[in-house]
């Protein structure tokens, strides 16, 4: 049967089992919107800004392991979406982004709402396509989903000129696709796996460090089994939280710039390090030169060979899907009856326990002013650690990562790589739509929330009962903290003295707003917030303006050079 390009786009989405598309209409995508309105399998979620569409699709993907889908128009639709695409790219989130383009005959003529979408997005996508013929739409969309979701995942942009979406052709959706130039590795090298297990068995001071790859690779179960089997200490990166249960006694907390004392020192002092689905980035190990001394043996498992030996030279690289490799680890450890050096391990744990004794996450309690850490701790208790928590970027993000204990993967959703303020609210929308019965809360700050505040309107339209936990310290807190530490307390442009009344603002959008300014009221207010199951509640906590995130490794310093409270 002959179909228009637009009809084909919608049919392809149906074939891929897409339930939600996040988007914003415009001239170049009108044929596609017309077709969307004629069916009800793929539900369109109308955002208020294209950045919101991308973050929502992103939150949807992060909370489910599905590919998130966004649809935006040409020109400004695309440029608004770029922040969201780059955010997903930095954290390897699978997205398919369909963008409208001016008609093929107008490309290159500086037409109205024309931009070079493929050129602009090239550095921040896994791959992108410009579809020049209607016959290519179906196979291109198939390729886009395949590329986005396999190997190291990432966003893929499909740019479709308006005339192509209007032309007709036969619709045939390929059942499968193979690309000669793209064949991601699955299985790890057996020889390397065996070598890794031998090294782990001999380790005196072992450490397991895992990142977002464990979450993306759906391997939290396999990781947990392996870590418990060996009895080794384990730390997660900001992106990897939930990969290993945070309440397990073998968990040392998050590592890195704002990681725990025990996790950072164990990383620095270990003799054999197993890194899984992580990339030794600057916020994790700080200065690589400092990390080289003392020397340790490093085993690195990652699906992306370019992540291996990029910042840190690795001794045993294992390229393969994290889940597959971990399954082999578990199988062969038992099969070949490997065992750890128990006396050495006992000594190592004793050392770690003395570091733990430093209690680096302790903070001064107050009865007069709300401590932001306290709000996150209460949030954890009241939601029983079982909520989907999204966050924006800054101090509140770090406190959420430090004080909310994530026992399951995909519950912690934040922009770790790009660090995009404005990510929290729209990504919570995606998570809530994907998990309609779950509790979804967004830990945010008064600066970040204003970067995508318009999405409160989207939440009203689709009745999304998200709970916004705003740690309002009237500062861009992380900027203020750096200015305090490194710029002589000169708080250049980090103070906001014209803040809106967030309670009234929430109400103006048709939601509930609650302002809390006394520590004694925090718990009751949070309980009321979460009791309102059907409503979005904006919790405006007036928190301590001077609170800092500790521990902290200053930029360019090493893991053992933490500033402690």
């Amino acid at each position: 049967m002959q179909m228009t390009g637009a009809e084909i786009v919608v049919r392809c989405l149906q074939e891929e089992g897409v339930e939600h598309v996040f988007g914003y209409p415009g001239g170049a995508v009108l044929f596609i919107y017309d077709e969307l309105s004629k069916q009800n399998k793929v539900k369109h979620i109308l955002v208020r800004h294209e950045q919101g569409a991308l973050h929502a699709a992103d939150g949807y993907a992060r909370s489910t392991h599905k590919v998130g889908v966004a649809l935006v128009t040409s020109g400004p639709g695309v440029t608004n979406a770029v922040t969201g695409i780059a955010t997903a790219y930095s954290d390897s989130i699978p997205l398919v982004v369909i963008t409208g383009q001016v008609p093929t005959y107008a490309i290159g003529e500086d037409a109205f709402q024309e931009c070079d979408t493929v050129g602009i997005t090239r550095p921040c996508v896994k791959h992108n396509f410009l579809v020049r013929k209607v016959e290519d739409i179906a196979s291109t969309i198939k390729k886009a989903f395949y590329i986005a979701s396999t190997g190291r995942p990432g966003p893929v942009v499909v740019d479709i000129p308006k005339d192509v979406s209007a032309q007709k052709t036969e619709f045939l959706y390929p059942a499968s696709i193979s690309l000669r130039s793209y064949n991601p590795v699955v299985k790890g090298h057996p020889g390397q796996i065996k070598k890794a297990l031998q090294l782990l068995a001999q380790a005196q001071r072992p450490m397991i460090y895992t990142g977002g790859g464990v979450i993306l690779g759906e391997s939290a179960t396999e990781l947990t089994e392996f870590v418990r089997k060996l009895g080794f200490p384990c730390t997660n990166t900001l992106m990897g939280l939930g990969g290993f249960p945070a309440t397990d006694k073998q968990f040392l907390g998050m590592l890195g710039m704002h990681g725990t004392y025990e996790a950072n020192l164990a990383m620095q002092e270990c003799d054999v390090l197993l890194a899984i689905g992580a990339r030794f980035d600057d916020r994790v190990i700080g200065n690589p030169k400092h990390f080289f001394d003392p020397k340790r043996t490093i085993i690195h498992v990652d699906v992306d060979p370019s992540s291996i030996s990029k910042r840190v030279k690795v001794d045993v690289p294992i390229v393969g899907q994290v889940r597959d490799v971990l399954k082999e680890f578990n199988k062969q450890w038992d099969l070949f009856k490997f065992h750890t050096d128990l006396p050495a391990l006992k000594k190592w744990w004793a050392q770690i326990d003395t570091w733990r004794g430093r209690q680096c996450l302790n903070y001064e309690r107050s009865t007069s002013i709300i401590k932001p850490q306290f709000v996150v701790q209460k949030l954890y208790e009241i939601t029983k650690g079982d909520a989907f928590i999204t966050s924006d970027v800054g101090q509140h993000q770090m406190w959420a990562a430090q004080y909310y204990k994530f026992n399951k993967p995909r519950r912690w959703i934040n922009s770790g790589g790009l660090g995009t303020m404005g990510f929290g609210l729209p990504s919570a929308m995606g998570a809530q739509l994907a998990n309609p019965r779950a509790t979804v809360a967004c830990v945010t700050g008064e600066a970040s929330i204003q970067m995508c505040i318009q999405e409160l309107s989207t939440c009203k339209q689709y009745k999304l009962p998200i709970k916004l936990i705003c740690l309002n310290n009237r500062y861009m807190g992380m900027v203020r903290q750096w200015q305090e530490f490194f710029h002589g307390n000169r708080y250049a442009e980090s103070y906001m003295n014209a803040l809106p009344d967030f309670v009234k603002l929430a109400e103006a959008y048709g939601h509930v707003g609650i302002k809390v300014d006394k520590p004694g009221d925090v718990e009751a207010a949070l309980k009321e917030c979460f009791a309102r199951k059907k409503e979005l509640v904006f919790m405006d906590f007036q928190t301590d303006q001077t609170e800092n995130v500790y521990p902290m490794i200053p930029g360019g310093k090493g893991l053992s050079e933490m500033i402690l409270v």
């Binding site: 090239r122 590329i147 130039s181 370019s306 030996s309 990029k310």
Partner: protein, 163 residues
């Protein structure tokens, strides 16, 4: 150290800019880059000459391999290989220089492919360093114009880069 990297990639619009964009985005240097379709018109063969430490070259080849359009990547400098570059150079050739320029061209096994009463245009093929040596051997003011293609490379013997 100088490396000659050969890339086999899909002959698609934008494939070249993906490679060029990768080098600029990650701060790798490109000394030269040549590209053209192969006997199979769906494929392009590219040769990139770059410099960097072993770690940088390892990253360059890994990052190139990661590009979806790239099918194969080989660092030719790792083994026996042949490198050729074509240069067209216009030389001032008047008076006694006329004979001198012809002799230099012969010594370097070049060919004079265009002649006027004032100049020769010389075609010269060889490794980049041979072309450099030719230019050094000519008196600078006699060089009116040079055009170089950048190096192309191929492995020796049965070292074959194919799909």
């Amino acid at each position: 150290m100088k490396h000659i990297i050969s890339i086999l990639l899909e002959n698609e619009a934008g494939a070249l800019s993906r490679v060029a964009g990768l080098f600029s985005a990650r701060g790798y240097n490109i000394e030269s880059l040549t590209v053209a379709p192969t006997e199979d018109a769906t494929l392009s063969r590219m040769t990139v000459v770059t410099r960097g430490s072993d770690e940088v070259i390892e990253q360059i080849t890994k990052q190139l391999n990661k590009l979806v359009d790239v099918i194969k990547v080989v660092d030719l400098s790792e083994g026996e290989h042949i490198e050729r570059e074509l240069m067209l150079v216009k030389l001032r050739a008047v008076g006694k220089d006329r004979e001198e320029m012809k002799r230099m061209t012969d010594i370097f096994r070049g060919r004079i492919i265009d002649v006027t009463d004032k100049d020769y245009t010389v075609e010269l093929t060889g490794t980049g360093s041979k072309l450099d040596a030719f230019l050094k051997a000519i008196e600078p003011s006699a060089i009116l114009e040079t055009v170089r293609t950048g190096s192309s490379g191929i492995g020796r013997g049965d070292r074959v880069l194919k799909v």
